[in-house]
């Protein structure tokens, strides 16, 4: 496995408010995801679900760096990215549980979290598809002249599928305001990425194929991620085109609910747990002079919110069967004949 590159010194000073928000948001993503895990164990989540425990710094940093009307495109492993844009926790947990209060009222399921009002333009469950779609949203923003930026998250394994290649080339030639964020967690499902990839850095070593600089960063460091996000977003917003970022990280849990992750070499998880983005960020904040009380307050507050959201989701009914016959078409119907 490639080593995580050393953290570079941020090019600008991250404000104290921002730092607290990065901490709070990472925590929210963590606690909500842990709650999702509990809900599986209680068999309250049917179907599949993909946790991103351990990868929170990336989603959180972008969540803080993006403007309200920017676009997010995520994968099936997208609970965090959806929450990071301000989607409601009960909406996310409710969707996982197939409840009426779910973001999609249960029609989409855990792999398709979407909250258009918050700029979350969908979670996509077929590898690669959302890269060109995110480019399309960026094209739309460019055409409409809105200065919106489109941010697209995906994994290391995704860099080997055709749509990745097409989307990157397309975004560059049209100079689209899109940021492609490869979260390299070193596995595609159960297979180590190095065993199926021709280069060491699945995204970083390919940026050059699109005339882009190679950007490989420590995805477990929220400050570095924030700085990286700001730079790429600013570039996009300024009309200077796309970026491809490889953020190295690790998922603490298995690929999906069914996966005990036995394929990982002994000790690998333990090494990465030492680099867990949340405790390390907490320590940094303490070193930077934030008080234990402030952090504890955020922690308690966030836990309370997760508990409240859980209660709302649990209390929510199963979706009405009427929904089945709604909204295939723009007019709200599903009719294919007269």
């Amino acid at each position: 496995m490639s080593a995580i590159p050393k953290a570079k010194k941020p090019a600008f000073e991250i404000g104290r408010e921002t730092r607290l928000e990065l901490f709070r948001l990472q925590l929210e993503l963590r606690l909500c995801e842990k709650r999702a895990f509990d809900l599986f164990l209680q068999n309250l989540i049917k179907g599949t679900s993909h946790l991103s425990l351990g990868q929170e710094a990336i989603a959180a940093a972008f969540g803080v760096a993006m403007k309200a009307d920017d676009y997010t495109f995520c994968t099936y492993r997208g609970h965090a990215h959806t929450l990071a844009r301000g989607a409601s926790m009960s909406g996310v947990l409710g969707e996982l549980m197939g409840r009426e209060c779910g973001l999609l009222a249960g029609k989409g399921g855990s792999m398709h979290l979407t909250d258009v009002e918050k700029g979350v333009m969908g979670s996509y469950a077929i590898i690669g598809a959302h890269l060109p779609i995110a480019a399309g949203a960026a094209w739309s923003a460019q055409y409409r002249g809105t200065k919106q930026v489109s941010v697209c998250f995906f994994g290391d394994g995704t860099t080997n599928i055709g749509a990745f290649h097409e989307a990157l080339n397309f975004a560059v030639i049209w100079k689209l305001p899109v940021v492609f964020v490869c979260e390299n967690n070193f596995y595609m499902e159960y297979t180590p990425i190095r065993s199926v990839t021709a280069v060491d850095a699945p995204a970083g070593d390919r940026a050059g194929a699109y005339g882009l600089p190679s950007i490989i960063v420590d995805g477990n460091d929220a400050d570095i991620m924030y700085e990286t996000a700001m730079a790429a977003i600013d570039k996009a917003r300024a009309g200077d085109g796309p970026s491809l970022i490889e953020a190295r990280t690790y998922r603490h849990s298995g690929h999906s609910r069914a996966d005990p992750a036995k394929y990982r070499p002994a000790g690998e998880l333990e090494e990465w747990l030492k680099k867990d983005p949340i405790p390390t960020y907490r320590e940094r904040l303490l070193r930077l002079g934030f008080s234990e009380g402030t952090l504890k307050g955020i922690e308690d507050d966030t836990q309370r919110k997760v508990d409240e959201a859980t209660a709302i989701a649990k209390a929510s009914p199963t979706p009405s069967l009427d929904l089945i016959d709604k909204d295939v078409w723009a007019d709200g119907s599903t009719a294919w004949r007269n």
């Binding site: 979407t114 258009v116 598809a129 399309g136 055409y143 749509a163 080339n169 709604k326 078409w329």
Partner: protein, 325 residues
């Protein structure tokens, strides 16, 4: 009324919608500077400029992905996939993404996107450039499927497709591009989901689509002239929405149904119509429903072989005659 070719009706339809709505944009391979490989989009770049009419790399997934992302965020893209056979290289975006997104998100997005593509046989292009693939699109819930047979419908149905607000796969018949026909002057719009009874006869109902409409009309002439059989001919025009009312009414009236499909046999749209008719007006049928299709084989290239494969006027005449004997 002006006389336009089917090809020019495409450009006229796109231009009409682009003039009407600045959010209509158009993209595809070789569509802008070259005006399309079938010359069906000549003049659009000149009128609407390079921001609205865009040449793309050979990246069908990116083309349709871009169209989808744009459609979800306020634009109304028209995307060209040069030959319908190439739908296979971007099928995921069409079948799994565009078609499902609105439903999955409980109506959070709309998907106003038109995929124009050149469909069908008769040009001796061989098995990978001649397929009739309307039924691929028809199998996918969430896609509308349109296939005009006349220049006026090209323009009118293209307008309806652009304004529909849903993903529409718009099959243009490549063998008809040079066909001429009257097209109403000024704004022209034909609603989706209305079949057209082109000819009304009491003896049987022939249902056809695109190029097969012309063969069915020619066959109906021959049937009348040479065999005294008076056939109704229905041009479906769109498969989704499907105008089952017109079909059921005509079948009930004539008691006999023959479908004429250019696609290979299995799971063609004719099968769907046959099953609907059998289910819903069985007691009005005076005999078997007959499907005329291309055999279930890849299409051969040489002219003699291709001509012997696609349904011909002679085959339609012979089949209807035998059936009604």
């Amino acid at each position: 009324m002006a006389e336009l070719t089917y090809r020019d009706a495409v450009a006229a339809g796109i231009a009409q919608e682009m003039r009407r709505d600045p959010n209509v944009v158009f993209l595809g391979e070789d569509v802008a500077h070259a005006g399309g490989v079938f010359k069906a989009t000549v003049g659009l770049l000149e009128e609407f400029g390079p921001l609205r009419v865009r040449d793309c790399p050979i990246s069908e997934q990116a083309i349709l992905g871009a169209a989808m992302g744009a459609a979800m965020t306020g634009l109304k893209p028209i995307a060209e996939i040069m030959f319908s056979d190439f739908l296979a290289v971007c099928w995921d975006i069409i079948a799994n993404e565009m078609a499902k997104m609105r439903y999955m998100t409980n109506g959070q997005v709309t998907m106003p996107v038109v995929i124009r593509t050149a469909n069908g046989a008769g040009s001796r292009f061989g098995a990978q450039h001649s397929q009739s693939l309307e039924n691929w699109a028809m199998t996918v819930p969430g896609l509308k499927v349109v296939a005009p047979a006349y220049p006026a419908d090209v323009k009118g149905l293209l307008a309806a497709s652009v304004r529909d607000g849903n993903p529409v796969v718009f099959f243009e018949q490549k063998s008809l591009y040079s066909m001429k026909g009257e097209v109403p002057d000024g704004e022209h719009y034909e609603p989706l989901g209305k079949a057209k009874v082109l000819r009304s006869g009491g003896d049987c109902t022939i249902v056809a689509l695109a190029a097969m409409v012309h063969k069915a009309m020619d066959a109906a002439e021959v049937l009348k002239r040479e065999h005294g059989i008076d056939a109704t001919v229905i041009d479906l025009r769109s498969l989704v929405p499907l105008d089952t009312q017109t079909i059921l009414t005509e079948v009930a009236r004539t008691g006999h149904l023959i479908t004429v499909e250019e696609n290979p046999r299995l799971c063609g749209w004719g099968a769907e119509i046959s099953s609907i008719v059998t289910e819903e007006c069985f007691w009005d049928l005076d005999g078997p429903i007959i499907r005329i299709t291309t055999p279930h084989i890849p299409l051969p290239a040489a002219d003699a072989l291709e001509d012997a494969t696609i349904p011909s006027v002679a085959r339609i005449v012979e089949t209807v005659r035998t059936r009604l004997d």
